[in-house]
Subunit: 379 residues, 2 copies
């Protein structure tokens, strides 16, 4: 029966030069797999913050409207003129969405590697996962252990490899502890589990007491709250206690990045014996990997031994090379039900993605809430 | 006669916890040199921007007063309460000043290396050069070729090694051209000479037509003016023409750093064939090595492949190692009269440093103006 698969639904996001976002489902052709390729029936694909950037662009969810219904529904929303420029490269081009997912291999090319996967559950990364079927090279997928469901394997890549990438980067760049912002997120909770397991000190920065509690409840030792009156002093104290000199920041705006660097410098200067007008020689680093805060970053240079920069999973994996990247992936599979377990608020169909109540809920990126799409769930 | 040298004048800068800056000359003891040491009669030491930070601290030159005269003169000035915190490490400690200088070796320890330098002209770096005599290890000085004056050798280190450090950093980090801000400075002009000699494309950023002219007159090809109406477009065009993806910034504040990164990104995106919501994969880097602009740095992340950080000469020299650092110093000596020639507006005595007209002039850090101290000039 599966040999008959020739078309399937795929979610598309289009931003027109007129400033209109259009999200729709397209019936697309599923080509026969090449010798080294397989066709995966996608059964679980998460909506990560990094997916929302492509799905919604800079559109305002409050302006969203829907026309039609079922697989023919079309969501439209407005992109403000000021934000349209940043969308330049994708205007008038229909984009497939969905970074990662998991499912069952339903067709396989003639190669041995492809044939070996037939009927197996595999995890994938590479875009266009919000679709009923995904054609992909056999060597690119991650074979999940027997008995693992697609749901359990849907988030094997983005959050697990990003959080492992943070502790790896910390080690490779010679730091001994780290700081994380927006720390109560799914990713942040995972990072806490990794650090607890590996004996790494982690300073969690959150912005509410509720988030503080989430992290304390999973055993976090250092949690500082930006809205508490003694925030800066609390942060310096945690940095002195841990010796953390590298931070990963999900917000990408405002004064927090500078506060972290200055708190690191204050902790380093306290340990100095001789004055230098250049400050400490301890290198202090902040990597920005997200953009939750649209304001510009504002910082005064914290001495001279500091760095700030963008951090992104794929360039990191390229930099460490195939063998080391494979080791990280193997650890994810080995600890899929413990360290790297993901929890979802709701599982929805492709059609449900176009439902306005759902859209406004997942667009909020609320802490601890996460949607899973099953593209083969009946609409 | 020189065997009698046991004391000498040394300039000192003191910031009291009360917020008062005090600059004075102290009669200090010149210890007999150890076996590996020499005593240098300092005959030329420049006032670099990096010296002013230690000499004046955060004091306001407009509040400066002088009491006493000659070698007994004392300059006082106020440090605003708000700036006193940043001076924390040096409060109530009398600091010697002067990063680099040159002079004649008048006493030498018993070792062969020390004895070999007796009577020679040497260049030095290491602080406390605003003094009649400086005791230093023989192996730390740079022997100047016969016939080189102390004045010609006074600025062998800070500007020459900093500008060479920029092109070296550019090469080592895989960039092919570079950007420099406050580009009409002494350092900036030196960087133009290096780049012209070495065939490196350099984008000079200045903020006036007069500075544009200074650079055009010495053969600079790419000069963009922040005050010109088409500044950003001019910058993008120069970056496209040169392929520069690394910048060295002397200002350390405001929006310029972000503008440079965004212009680099705009130039990189123009060359991209496929849209990515993360922007280009070209790494764009700004190093901040000065602080002419007291405002905070303000930037929106320019895609994900970017970095910003502090850059300082000594950590750079340590990083490249002794052998490579020695090669850079050898080049400076070889090209001391051409590429690395420094020009001074005025030569003054130690006593003249305490003269208020001089102080207000050198404190201005005016483009193209540079003071040289000869601590052995009669007051």
């Amino acid at each position: 029966m599966t040999a008959d698969i020739t078309t399937g639904l795929e979610l598309r996001s289009l931003i027109k030069s007129s400033g209109e976002l259009e999200i729709s489902l397209q019936q697309v052709t599923i080509p026969a797999p090449g010798p080294d390729e397989i066709v995966v029936r996608v059964e679980a694909s998460p909506i990560n913050p990094s997916d929302l950037g492509l799905l919604l662009g800079a559109a305002d969810p409050a302006t969203a409207k829907v026309t039609g219904s079922g697989a023919s529904a079309v969501v439209t929303a407005r992109v403000a003129e000021a934000n349209l420029k940043a969308m330049g490269g994708r205007l008038d081009e229909s984009m497939a969405v969905g970074n990662e997912g998991a499912g069952t291999v339903v067709k396989a090319g003639s190669s041995e590697a492809a044939q070996a996967l037939l009927g197996k559950t595999v995890a994938m990364i590479g875009g266009a996962m919000y679709a009923q079927y995904r054609v992909i090279k056999a060597k690119e997928v991650l074979l999940l252990p027997d008995g693992t469901t697609a749901e359990a394997g849907a988030s094997c890549f983005v959050n697990p490899l990003t959080s492992l990438g943070m502790t790896e980067t910390m080690r490779r760049e010679g730091h001994k502890a780290l700081v994380h912002t927006a720390a109560a997120s799914n990713l942040g909770q995972m990072l806490n589990k990794i650090c607890q397991k590996d004996g790494i000190d982690l300073v969690n920065i959150v912005r509410s007491e509720a988030q503080e509690k989430i992290l304390r409840d999973i055993g976090a030792k250092y949690v500082v709250n930006t809205t508490a009156p003694g925030f800066f002093e609390d942060l310096v104290a945690a940095l002195e206690a841990t010796g953390a000199t590298i931070a990963f920041d999900a917000t990408g705006g405002g004064k927090l990045q500078g506060q972290i660097l200055h708190a690191m410098e204050a902790a380093a200067v306290k340990a100095m014996k001789v004055y230098s007008r250049y400050g400490s020689t301890t290198h202090k680093q902040v990597y920005v990997y997200g953009r939750l805060e649209p304001r510009p970053i504002e910082l005064s240079p914290p001495g001279m031994a500091w760095g700030m920069g963008g951090w992104l999973l794929f360039p990191f994996l390229q930099k460490i090379g195939k063998d080391d990247a494979a080791k990280l992936r193997a650890r994810v599979v080995a600890e899929l039900k413990t360290t790297f377990a993901s929890h979802y608020t709701k599982t929805i169909s492709l059609q449900d993605v176009l439902n306005l109540d759902n859209l406004r809920a997942y667009a909020k990126r609320a802490t601890g809430e996460k949607y899973l799409i099953n593209p083969n769930l009946p609409g």
